[in-house]
Symmetry: C2
Amino acid sequence: MANGSRAIRPQSSVWLSERKPPRRKADQQPVGLDRLKIVAATIRLLDAEGLAGFSMRRLAAELGVTAMSVYWYVDTKDHLLELALDAAMGEIVLPIEAVAPAKARVVSPPASQPASQRAARPAEAHAHLPAEPRDWRDQLRQLAEESRKVLVRHPWLSPLMGDYLNIGPNAMVFTNAAQEVMRNSGLPVEKLSSALALVTHFVFGFSTLEGRFAVSCREEGIAQDELLQEVMTTVKDRPDFDGTREMFAAQGEISVEEMRDRDFTFALDITIAGIEALRDAAPRDAASQDPPERA
Amino acid sequence: MANGSRAIRPQSSVWLSERKPPRRKADQQPVGLDRLKIVAATIRLLDAEGLAGFSMRRLAAELGVTAMSVYWYVDTKDHLLELALDAAMGEIVLPIEAVAPAKARVVSPPASQPASQRAARPAEAHAHLPAEPRDWRDQLRQLAEESRKVLVRHPWLSPLMGDYLNIGPNAMVFTNAAQEVMRNSGLPVEKLSSALALVTHFVFGFSTLEGRFAVSCREEGIAQDELLQEVMTTVKDRPDFDGTREMFAAQGEISVEEMRDRDFTFALDITIAGIEALRDAAPRDAASQDPPERA
DNA sequence: ACCTGAACACCGTTCAAGT
DNA sequence: ACCTGAACACCGTTCAAGT
């Protein structure tokens, strides 16, 4: 089994199985382990060694405990990963007040997040506190950028998002916020899910690659620009590489990070411009129509 | 090791290690196994049992051979998966003649592809044959739709695309075709990679979810609409589900597949409209500018 | 209620050996 | 040149047992 193939069914989700009763009977002192600690250690390990390097036995060792102890708090490796997934999603700083009960949010402990992160984030409850509601375009950009940050910070997140239903409390809050933002765009309701899909999938795919690239660099102890150079030179003798080279050349002499930031924001520019264009076009009932021609 | 974490480095790619010399010495009869057969069996197994269900031992059994025989033709499981990845990418029907040498394309055998597939595809060389070059918007749509088809047909493709560099011959042909299409949009060169990223990542993410959902349904022996109903009812008592429910309701009484087709094409509508809008806007040199306001 | 140890059925891969 | 068999160092998880 393991992770990878068959966990999308609702029944198989942690969030739908009844909770284990709260641990720590009143008269006995807490014995050390609990779900929060386990999830925290899980995230720490995943950050440090990646999804492929993570195992239940490794986790147990990290917790100074026998391999099977963890199984008292968690039904299965899959469920544990689902918990870690949702905890990490809680790190995304949302652009608007969420509708959902904040108490439901599972918080991943500060230990797992590098203190050097530039955005000053609240120490304990990450949450969606900031800034008054502004223009939906700004909100959308912030949503995308904050998602990107978290996805890159936890490169194991992307694969897990594909593997599980992703309906934990934090994921729900996120989804609601995203929907709210989209609703503010003025797009008709039946188009909202589509526009949302465009944005979220773009951010997801983009950040997946960015994260993986960063991991490779870290593993090799090499700067991102160096690795890019290396890849380019290894591949450049291929006969079919001209187009790609030209596209790179057109970017000028900038760092990988600059290039990526440009790409990211311009892709959002396209999305926003497209939404505005179709929103302002005469409303038609079928989405399969051609978009308005302007050239 | 296994698949999952550290294969993005160019040195670790099959395509960059020197090839094993061609098998089958002239005077001895072929002994049964070869790379093509192995990759074919790999794809068949991946289709049938998913990425998590695939193992070298299982593959060897399928080939009627001892576990270690495969290792004579393939250095490692990762390399084999990389071969399968590129072979599957070759199934994507491209909208335009590719620039690259067609001989390089590795073809996955007809055995692996369901005969019931509606688009009549050439029996042996999938290739990019069809239709004369048309409007770039049509080309882009076709590129997206054909990618989607293949990604859904082989649900194990998406995770692999995230795991490997993806620079095999078929991947290169695909990339070139995609770049060519984008170039036809009239967008300035330095914006091409960005627009391309938007499209490919959207298609990738969208198809990943679609494929996973289909797999779950097949495994449970249940129709897609049933499973959706099930998920909806299991989750609907959540207090924070109102927005999602409303968005679903707005779609009217249509099947999951219809809904997805709508979403997909409308997301492309947005992308295309956005590209046209920004292309026609006054050229500015920085991409970080605000898009033109129209409301 | 919580944790352990041994065991089962798997992995990918190495290595020496067969033909 | 091609394939085998045994072995190593791992997995996730079950199950009976300890305290």
